[in-house]
Protein backbone atom coordinates (compact mmCIF):
# COMPACT_ATOMS: atom_id res chain seq x y z
CA UNK A 1 0.00 0.00 0.00
CA UNK A 2 1.43 3.38 -0.95
CA UNK A 3 2.09 6.19 1.51
CA UNK A 4 -0.64 8.23 -0.17
CA UNK A 5 -3.20 5.43 0.32
CA UNK A 6 -2.14 5.01 3.97
CA UNK A 7 -2.54 8.72 4.50
CA UNK A 8 -6.00 8.69 2.92
CA UNK A 9 -7.32 5.79 5.01
CA UNK A 10 -5.87 7.12 8.26
CA UNK A 11 -7.79 10.40 7.74
CA UNK A 12 -10.63 10.18 10.30
CA UNK A 13 -12.92 12.26 8.06
CA UNK A 14 -12.68 9.67 5.28
CA UNK A 15 -12.78 6.44 7.30
CA UNK A 16 -16.12 6.06 9.19
CA UNK A 17 -14.56 3.56 11.65
CA UNK A 18 -12.19 6.26 12.91
CA UNK A 19 -14.77 9.02 13.21
CA UNK A 20 -15.94 10.06 16.63
CA UNK A 21 -19.71 10.21 17.21
CA UNK A 22 -20.10 13.87 16.22
CA UNK A 23 -18.15 13.39 12.98
CA UNK A 24 -20.50 10.66 11.72
CA UNK A 25 -23.00 11.97 9.14
CA UNK A 26 -26.06 10.53 10.91
CA UNK A 27 -24.99 11.97 14.28
CA UNK A 28 -24.27 15.41 12.81
CA UNK A 29 -27.49 15.25 10.83
CA UNK A 30 -29.51 14.38 13.93
CA UNK A 31 -27.98 17.23 15.95
CA UNK A 32 -28.57 19.76 13.14
CA UNK A 33 -32.16 18.51 12.72
CA UNK A 34 -32.96 18.82 16.45
CA UNK A 35 -31.55 22.36 16.58
CA UNK A 36 -33.35 23.26 13.32
CA UNK A 37 -36.68 21.84 14.47
CA UNK A 38 -36.50 23.62 17.86
CA UNK A 39 -35.62 26.92 16.13
CA UNK A 40 -38.42 26.47 13.55
CA UNK A 41 -40.99 25.56 16.19
CA UNK A 42 -39.96 28.49 18.40
CA UNK A 43 -40.26 30.99 15.52
CA UNK A 44 -43.65 29.55 14.53
CA UNK A 45 -45.02 29.91 18.08
CA UNK A 46 -44.12 33.63 18.00
CA UNK A 47 -46.29 34.21 14.91
CA UNK A 48 -50.08 34.44 14.67
CA UNK A 49 -51.43 30.96 13.84
CA UNK A 50 -52.59 31.76 10.27
CA UNK A 51 -49.11 33.08 9.40
CA UNK A 52 -47.46 30.07 11.06
CA UNK A 53 -49.74 27.77 9.09
CA UNK A 54 -48.78 29.51 5.82
CA UNK A 55 -45.12 28.85 6.61
CA UNK A 56 -45.77 25.19 7.45
CA UNK A 57 -47.81 24.79 4.27
CA UNK A 58 -45.00 26.35 2.28
CA UNK A 59 -42.44 24.12 3.98
CA UNK A 60 -44.35 20.94 3.10
CA UNK A 61 -44.85 22.10 -0.50
CA UNK A 62 -41.18 23.05 -0.77
CA UNK A 63 -40.07 19.67 0.53
CA UNK A 64 -41.83 18.17 -2.47
CA UNK A 65 -39.59 20.29 -4.67
CA UNK A 66 -36.48 18.58 -3.28
CA UNK A 67 -37.71 15.24 -4.61
CA UNK A 68 -38.47 16.81 -7.97
CA UNK A 69 -34.81 17.89 -8.12
CA UNK A 70 -33.63 14.42 -7.08
CA UNK A 71 -35.88 12.86 -9.73
CA UNK A 72 -34.55 15.21 -12.41
CA UNK A 73 -30.97 14.34 -11.44
CA UNK A 74 -31.31 10.55 -11.41
CA UNK A 75 -30.52 8.45 -14.48
CA UNK A 76 -33.27 5.89 -13.84
CA UNK A 77 -36.56 6.83 -15.51
CA UNK A 78 -38.48 4.59 -13.08
CA UNK A 79 -36.99 6.24 -9.99
CA UNK A 80 -37.48 9.68 -11.53
CA UNK A 81 -41.18 8.96 -12.18
CA UNK A 82 -41.55 7.79 -8.57
CA UNK A 83 -39.94 11.00 -7.28
CA UNK A 84 -42.22 13.17 -9.47
CA UNK A 85 -45.30 11.34 -8.20
CA UNK A 86 -44.24 11.74 -4.56
CA UNK A 87 -43.37 15.37 -5.18
CA UNK A 88 -46.88 15.94 -6.56
CA UNK A 89 -48.39 14.15 -3.56
CA UNK A 90 -46.58 16.47 -1.13
CA UNK A 91 -47.71 19.48 -3.11
CA UNK A 92 -51.29 18.17 -2.82
CA UNK A 93 -50.88 17.57 0.92
CA UNK A 94 -49.60 21.12 1.44
CA UNK A 95 -52.68 22.54 -0.31
CA UNK A 96 -54.95 20.19 1.69
CA UNK A 97 -53.23 21.48 4.84
CA UNK A 98 -54.03 25.03 3.81
CA UNK A 99 -57.56 24.62 2.45
CA UNK A 100 -58.94 21.65 4.41
CA UNK A 101 -57.24 20.95 7.73
CA UNK A 102 -53.79 21.34 9.37
CA UNK A 103 -54.01 17.58 10.08
CA UNK A 104 -52.73 17.14 6.54
CA UNK A 105 -49.59 19.10 7.42
CA UNK A 106 -48.78 16.73 10.30
CA UNK A 107 -49.54 13.78 8.03
CA UNK A 108 -47.26 15.26 5.35
CA UNK A 109 -44.40 15.67 7.86
CA UNK A 110 -44.63 12.02 8.96
CA UNK A 111 -45.06 10.79 5.37
CA UNK A 112 -42.04 12.87 4.40
CA UNK A 113 -39.95 11.25 7.14
CA UNK A 114 -41.00 7.81 5.85
CA UNK A 115 -40.10 8.78 2.27
CA UNK A 116 -36.70 10.12 3.42
CA UNK A 117 -36.04 6.79 5.14
CA UNK A 118 -36.94 5.02 1.88
CA UNK A 119 -33.89 6.70 0.29
CA UNK A 120 -31.63 4.40 2.34
CA UNK A 121 -29.16 2.43 0.16
CA UNK A 122 -30.87 -0.83 1.21
CA UNK A 123 -34.31 0.45 0.19
CA UNK A 124 -34.90 2.68 -2.86
CA UNK A 125 -31.19 3.35 -3.27
CA UNK A 126 -31.56 6.82 -4.78
CA UNK A 127 -28.29 8.55 -4.04
CA UNK A 128 -28.40 11.49 -1.62
CA UNK A 129 -25.75 12.96 0.72
CA UNK A 130 -25.20 10.71 3.78
CA UNK A 131 -26.29 13.49 6.17
CA UNK A 132 -29.56 14.20 4.37
CA UNK A 133 -31.65 11.17 5.38
CA UNK A 134 -31.08 11.34 9.19
CA UNK A 135 -31.38 15.15 9.17
CA UNK A 136 -34.66 15.18 7.30
CA UNK A 137 -36.20 12.18 9.11
CA UNK A 138 -35.55 13.68 12.55
CA UNK A 139 -36.63 17.20 11.49
CA UNK A 140 -39.86 15.93 9.92
CA UNK A 141 -40.85 13.76 12.89
CA UNK A 142 -40.22 16.64 15.33
CA UNK A 143 -42.14 19.11 13.15
CA UNK A 144 -45.03 16.66 12.66
CA UNK A 145 -45.28 16.21 16.43
CA UNK A 146 -45.11 19.97 16.91
CA UNK A 147 -48.00 20.53 14.47
CA UNK A 148 -50.13 17.92 16.27
CA UNK A 149 -49.47 19.34 19.74
CA UNK A 150 -49.53 23.04 18.90
CA UNK A 151 -52.38 23.46 16.49
CA UNK A 152 -55.02 21.92 18.72
CA UNK A 153 -53.76 23.33 21.99
Amino acid sequence: MSTEQNKTISDPLLDPRKMNMVQRPWARGTIVAIIGAIASAYILTLLPKPFARDILVALVGYFGGVYMGLGLSTDSAKKAALEYAVSGAFFGLSLAGLWLSPWFLALACFAHAAWDAAHHPKALDIFVRPWYVPTCVVYDILMGTFVLLWWWR
Binding site: D54, A58, R129
Partner: protein, 137 residues
Protein backbone atom coordinates in the same frame (compact mmCIF):
# COMPACT_ATOMS: atom_id res chain seq x y z
CA UNK B 1 -22.39 21.02 -35.54
CA UNK B 2 -23.95 17.91 -33.97
CA UNK B 3 -23.38 19.32 -30.48
CA UNK B 4 -25.08 22.58 -31.46
CA UNK B 5 -28.03 20.64 -32.84
CA UNK B 6 -28.31 18.62 -29.60
CA UNK B 7 -28.15 21.80 -27.52
CA UNK B 8 -30.86 23.39 -29.64
CA UNK B 9 -32.99 20.26 -29.27
CA UNK B 10 -32.56 20.42 -25.46
CA UNK B 11 -33.46 24.12 -25.44
CA UNK B 12 -36.51 23.59 -27.65
CA UNK B 13 -37.71 20.66 -25.53
CA UNK B 14 -37.35 22.75 -22.36
CA UNK B 15 -39.07 25.73 -23.94
CA UNK B 16 -42.10 23.68 -25.04
CA UNK B 17 -42.47 21.89 -21.70
CA UNK B 18 -42.08 25.26 -19.93
CA UNK B 19 -44.84 26.89 -21.98
CA UNK B 20 -47.19 23.89 -21.55
CA UNK B 21 -46.52 23.78 -17.77
CA UNK B 22 -46.98 27.53 -17.36
CA UNK B 23 -50.23 27.57 -19.39
CA UNK B 24 -51.58 24.69 -17.25
CA UNK B 25 -50.61 26.51 -14.03
CA UNK B 26 -52.12 29.79 -15.24
CA UNK B 27 -55.36 28.03 -16.25
CA UNK B 28 -55.71 26.36 -12.85
CA UNK B 29 -54.91 29.63 -11.05
CA UNK B 30 -57.44 31.62 -13.08
CA UNK B 31 -60.18 29.10 -12.21
CA UNK B 32 -59.61 29.60 -8.46
CA UNK B 33 -60.72 32.54 -6.30
CA UNK B 34 -57.87 35.10 -6.21
CA UNK B 35 -56.69 34.46 -2.60
CA UNK B 36 -56.51 30.71 -3.26
CA UNK B 37 -54.71 31.27 -6.56
CA UNK B 38 -52.20 33.47 -4.75
CA UNK B 39 -51.55 30.72 -2.19
CA UNK B 40 -51.12 28.17 -4.97
CA UNK B 41 -48.67 30.35 -6.90
CA UNK B 42 -46.72 31.12 -3.72
CA UNK B 43 -46.28 27.42 -2.91
CA UNK B 44 -45.32 26.66 -6.52
CA UNK B 45 -42.61 29.37 -6.41
CA UNK B 46 -41.12 27.95 -3.21
CA UNK B 47 -41.38 24.43 -4.63
CA UNK B 48 -39.44 25.30 -7.77
CA UNK B 49 -36.79 27.00 -5.63
CA UNK B 50 -36.40 23.76 -3.65
CA UNK B 51 -35.86 21.75 -6.86
CA UNK B 52 -32.34 23.20 -6.72
CA UNK B 53 -31.99 21.69 -3.23
CA UNK B 54 -32.50 18.30 -4.89
CA UNK B 55 -29.89 19.18 -7.52
CA UNK B 56 -27.23 20.11 -4.96
CA UNK B 57 -27.98 16.99 -2.91
CA UNK B 58 -26.96 15.01 -5.97
CA UNK B 59 -24.11 17.37 -6.90
CA UNK B 60 -22.56 17.41 -3.43
CA UNK B 61 -20.07 20.28 -3.86
CA UNK B 62 -20.11 22.63 -0.88
CA UNK B 63 -19.60 25.87 -2.82
CA UNK B 64 -22.56 25.15 -5.10
CA UNK B 65 -24.61 24.07 -2.07
CA UNK B 66 -24.11 27.43 -0.31
CA UNK B 67 -24.83 29.38 -3.50
CA UNK B 68 -28.07 27.46 -4.10
CA UNK B 69 -29.15 27.71 -0.44
CA UNK B 70 -28.73 31.50 -0.67
CA UNK B 71 -31.06 31.64 -3.64
CA UNK B 72 -33.57 29.26 -2.01
CA UNK B 73 -33.74 31.59 1.02
CA UNK B 74 -34.27 34.65 -1.16
CA UNK B 75 -36.97 32.97 -3.28
CA UNK B 76 -38.85 31.75 -0.19
CA UNK B 77 -38.77 35.28 1.22
CA UNK B 78 -40.25 36.64 -2.03
CA UNK B 79 -42.89 33.86 -2.10
CA UNK B 80 -44.01 34.70 1.45
CA UNK B 81 -43.92 38.47 0.78
CA UNK B 82 -46.10 37.80 -2.26
CA UNK B 83 -48.56 35.98 -0.06
CA UNK B 84 -48.58 38.41 2.88
CA UNK B 85 -47.72 41.85 1.44
CA UNK B 86 -48.47 42.24 -2.29
CA UNK B 87 -48.69 39.85 -5.27
CA UNK B 88 -46.09 41.95 -7.06
CA UNK B 89 -43.47 40.37 -4.79
CA UNK B 90 -44.56 37.02 -6.15
CA UNK B 91 -44.12 38.26 -9.73
CA UNK B 92 -40.68 39.59 -8.71
CA UNK B 93 -39.90 36.15 -7.24
CA UNK B 94 -40.78 34.37 -10.49
CA UNK B 95 -38.79 36.89 -12.56
CA UNK B 96 -35.77 36.59 -10.23
CA UNK B 97 -35.97 32.80 -10.31
CA UNK B 98 -35.97 32.91 -14.11
CA UNK B 99 -32.79 35.00 -13.96
CA UNK B 100 -31.31 32.48 -11.52
CA UNK B 101 -32.05 29.71 -14.02
CA UNK B 102 -30.24 31.72 -16.70
CA UNK B 103 -27.20 32.06 -14.42
CA UNK B 104 -26.75 28.26 -14.58
CA UNK B 105 -25.11 28.75 -17.94
CA UNK B 106 -21.88 26.72 -18.50
CA UNK B 107 -19.94 29.95 -17.79
CA UNK B 108 -22.02 30.76 -14.71
CA UNK B 109 -23.07 28.68 -11.69
CA UNK B 110 -21.72 25.16 -12.05
CA UNK B 111 -24.37 23.07 -10.21
CA UNK B 112 -25.11 19.90 -12.18
CA UNK B 113 -28.61 20.17 -13.63
CA UNK B 114 -30.22 18.63 -16.72
CA UNK B 115 -29.60 20.81 -19.79
CA UNK B 116 -33.23 21.13 -20.81
CA UNK B 117 -34.19 22.29 -17.29
CA UNK B 118 -32.80 25.83 -17.70
CA UNK B 119 -34.94 26.87 -20.73
CA UNK B 120 -37.88 24.98 -19.21
CA UNK B 121 -37.75 26.74 -15.84
CA UNK B 122 -36.89 30.15 -17.28
CA UNK B 123 -39.86 30.02 -19.69
CA UNK B 124 -42.18 28.71 -17.00
CA UNK B 125 -41.12 31.39 -14.49
CA UNK B 126 -41.44 34.33 -16.84
CA UNK B 127 -44.79 33.25 -18.31
CA UNK B 128 -46.22 32.85 -14.79
CA UNK B 129 -44.68 36.20 -13.73
CA UNK B 130 -46.32 37.87 -16.73
CA UNK B 131 -49.64 36.29 -15.80
CA UNK B 132 -49.44 37.58 -12.21
CA UNK B 133 -48.60 41.11 -13.35
CA UNK B 134 -51.48 41.19 -15.85
CA UNK B 135 -54.03 39.33 -13.76
CA UNK B 136 -53.57 41.00 -10.41
CA UNK B 137 -54.16 44.60 -11.58
Amino acid sequence: MTQNTTQRAHALRGLIIGIVGAVATVMIASLLPKPMALELLSIVLGGIAFVYFGFVLMDGRKREMFIEFGNIGLTIALALLGLWVAPYWLAAGYLAHGLWDALHHPRGIQTNIPRWYIPFCLTYDWVVAGFILLWWR
